[in-house]
């Protein structure tokens, strides 16, 4: 293990497909037992980073390491210590739950009494025992993902990559899946989880946000909320709430027509906005009957603000 104690690390990782740069100079490191959330729009490069760290694709430049093993040199050794649950359901739908488990145990070289014991453990952990003889294809989304997780960790990996493990499954199933992650994480397993759900990101110890192949923010939720770039100087983040029954979308239109409004979006019956401090008093006058209070940015606010900044900088540079 490297001196820093990092279990997963990427150093100036760059991955190109032809002319297209899918991952551009990405560096980060994750410590043992962390549950690291990784967010970013579709096509931003999340899956590509995971595949590179797992040794499925070779980085164009830069490198990374898992448990101190360089991904370029120790691809085969890394496989023994890494669990990977791909974005697609990577199980055999025509095999039963048990056959899938047995197969993955087999390909990891786990046989005999050890396999039986491990299978027992996984059944207890995931609670999938009642469905042992059911074909994987006939499971509901939540159970499919539990089975996929069981298969991905059959060899007791110390590092687990989960690529959108909760995409398309219901909130209850999502929550119980996350309970599983926390359970394993508490035992010292390091998790790298990609997701598009903010509530899931907020449960992670630390999160990374990748946009357009660039990693633009990494840190704990509190760190990201205090990030200077997310709270630009001379602005204040506010929540606007109409006291009456006024329609929030009408209020949003009225707000956007005012000067000094950088961002505004609807949250339920209220509006979150990033407003220039100088404009705030004029705004109170223009919007009578609206309660305006300063708030902490949510994780989503932070990502949206950072994304706008980069997009604006890019369009500014283009001009």
């Amino acid at each position: 293990m490297s001196a820093s104690g990092a279990v997963i690390s990427a150093e100036h990782l760059t991955i190109r497909f032809g002319d297209f740069t899918a991952v551009d100079d990405v560096s980060f490191s994750i410590n043992k037992g962390e549950l690291f959330g990784f967010l970013g729009p579709n096509g931003s490069g999340k899956t590509t980073i995971i595949k590179a760290l797992c040794g499925l694709i070779k980085p164009t430049s830069g490198t990374g390491s898992i448990l101190g093993m360089d991904i370029r040199e120790h691809g085969a050794d890394i496989k023994q210590h890494v669990g990977y649950m791909s974005q697609r359901f990577g199980l055999y739908e025509d095999l039963t739950v048990e056959e899938n488990l047995d197969f993955y145990a087999g390909v990891y070289g786990i046989t005999g009494a050890r396999a039986t014991a491990r299978k027992r453990e996984l059944l207890d952990l995931t609670g999938i025992a009642p469905y042992l003889t059911r074909r994987a294809g006939a499971l509901s989304g939540g159970w499919k993902q539990r089975l996929a997780l069981a298969c991905a960790i059959v060899h007791e990996p110390q590092v687990v990559f989960l690529d959108e493990p909760t995409a398309g499954i219901d909130p209850v199933a999502r929550r119980s899946l996350w309970d599983l992650f926390f359970h394993l994480s508490a035992q010292g397993v390091t998790f790298f989880v990609t997701t598009h759900y903010m509530d899931e990101a907020e449960r992670c110890g630390r999160v990374g946000y990748i946009y357009n192949s660039h990693l633009i923010a990494v840190g704990t939720i509190a760190e990201l909320q205090k990030l200077p770039r997310a709270n630009p100087e001379g602005t204040v983040r506010v929540k606007l709430e109409a006291d009456g029954h006024s329609d929030p979308s009408a209020m949003l239109d009225a707000l956007r027509a005012l000067p000094g409004v950088r961002e505004a979006t609807i949250f339920g019956r209220s509006i979150h906005a990033l407003i220039e401090t100088a404009a705030i008093e004029a705004m109170r006058a223009k919007l009578p009957g609206v309660i305006i209070e300063t708030i902490q940015p949510s994780l989503e606010d932070v990502f949206v603000t950072l994304t706008y900044q980069i997009a604006n900088a890019a369009s500014g540079a283009a001009k």
Partner: protein
């Protein structure tokens, strides 16, 4: 751990489970060939027999009837209609009610008897060149034997050729085609099944998951080859049984030797299937590539057309087609009772092709596994 081939066991076992679980594949592999065999085996009959023939006999004499009898006796012609006028005969030919018309002139008996040279008109429908050719040959044969008999006037014929067709005495088309069909069917099934099974894993994402496990590329490859090789053997046995029982094609050689000599061919086609699986992104693409190997194996392997009569270029091509050698082996064993002693050159070439094809596939697999 057996490093180079790590994972063979579990993959093999899983593949057998797939086969048992999905009867579609088994039906495809074992029943479809039978249907194809029945279709081809019965439909393809290049021997021409019983061509419907119309007769316009103006002579109506004993010699003219004797001539018509010898036409009928050849088994090539079937005297199905008689015409009473020339236009009637032409009409029957044009409407394809008859393929051959025989017109005997009114002075036929007289001319034959005084030796002044009788002319019999034989009209042949040329729209099927095979039928036409055999009809013309048979008609010439009849005329020749009749002429000689007339000249000799009862004396024995000084020279007679008695052709005897060996190995396939009835010159039955089934005996010739069904053994060739074995090679073509085995090739199609093996290439298609192994290529599709791998490409399906790529499409579904399980291949990516497998690449994250310690399964070695060659473990995956061999783990796929064993079940589909076994399936091909089962298919071979089924086809041989049907050939023997349904088509009544006798197997003159040793079935065991035939099975043993099939191994290099199976390895070759398994290798081709594996190579296709590394190239094709979708199942449709794999299907097309697999079918692309079928046409040359049908037309240039000697299955339908004799290699010796092909243009030189195609003769050259036929030499690099594995089915060419396997068909020789299958026909040799089944029709001529040949064995290792006679067929070893074919076996040697197939063995080399098998090694080359597997080696090439292995190279692609290892390289793909590293990416």
């Amino acid at each position: 751990m057996n490093g180079l081939f790590f994972g063979v066991g579990p993959i093999c076992r899983k593949e057998f489970t797939h086969l048992v679980r999905d009867p579609g594949t088994l039906v495809f592999a074992l029943v479809l060939p039978l249907i194809q065999m029945l279709l081809f085996g019965f439909a393809v009959d290049t021997n021409v027999r019983q061509i419907p023939t119309i007769v316009y006999d103006q002579s109506r004499t004993q010699p003219s009837r004797a001539l018509l009898d010898s036409f009928a006796a050849s088994d090539v012609f079937r005297m199905s209609m008689t015409a009473t006028s020339e236009p009637q005969m032409d009409e029957a030919l044009r409407a394809a009610k008859a393929r051959v018309g025989i017109e005997i002139p009114y002075d036929y008996a007289w001319r034959v008897q005084n030796g002044s040279g009788a002319t019999v008109l034989v009209l042949v429908d040329g729209s099927d060149s095979n039928v036409a050719g055999q009809a013309v040959n048979a008609a010439n044969g009849v005329a020749l034997t009749q002429s000689i008999a007339a000249l000799l006037r009862g004396k024995p014929i000084p020279l007679e050729v008695r052709p005897m067709v060996l190995y396939n005495p009835a010159t039955r088309a089934a005996n010739f085609f069904v053994p060739g069909l074995i090679a073509v069917l085995l090739q199609v099934m093996v290439i298609l099944l192994i290529a599709l099974s791998l490409v399906r894993e790529r499409e579904r994402g399980t291949l990516e998951q497998l690449r994250m496990t310690p399964v070695a590329p060659l473990g995956l490859m061999v783990g796929k080859m064993l079940p589909y090789g076994a399936l091909a053997f089962a298919e071979l046995c089924v086809i041989l049984t049907v050939m023997r029982v349904v088509f009544q094609v006798p197997i003159h050689g040793s079935v065991l030797e035939l099975l043993l000599m099939s191994i290099p061919f199976l390895l070759t086609v398994l290798g081709i299937g594996l190579v296709i699986s590394t190239r094709a992104k979708t199942q449709a693409e794999a299907f097309q590539l697999a079918m692309g190997t079928v046409l040359p194996s049908v037309f240039l392997s000697g299955y339908i057309f004799l290699i010796d009569t092909m243009p030189l270029f195609f003769q050259g091509v036929s030499r690099i087609i594995p089915a060419t050698y396997y068909i020789q082996i299958v026909r040799g064993v089944i029709l001529r009772g040949a064995g290792f002693a006679e067929l070893w050159p074919n076996l040697l070439i197939l063995t080399l092709m098998g090694i080359a094809s597997i080696a090439f596939a292995a190279r692609l697999f290892v390289r793909q596994g590293m990416e």
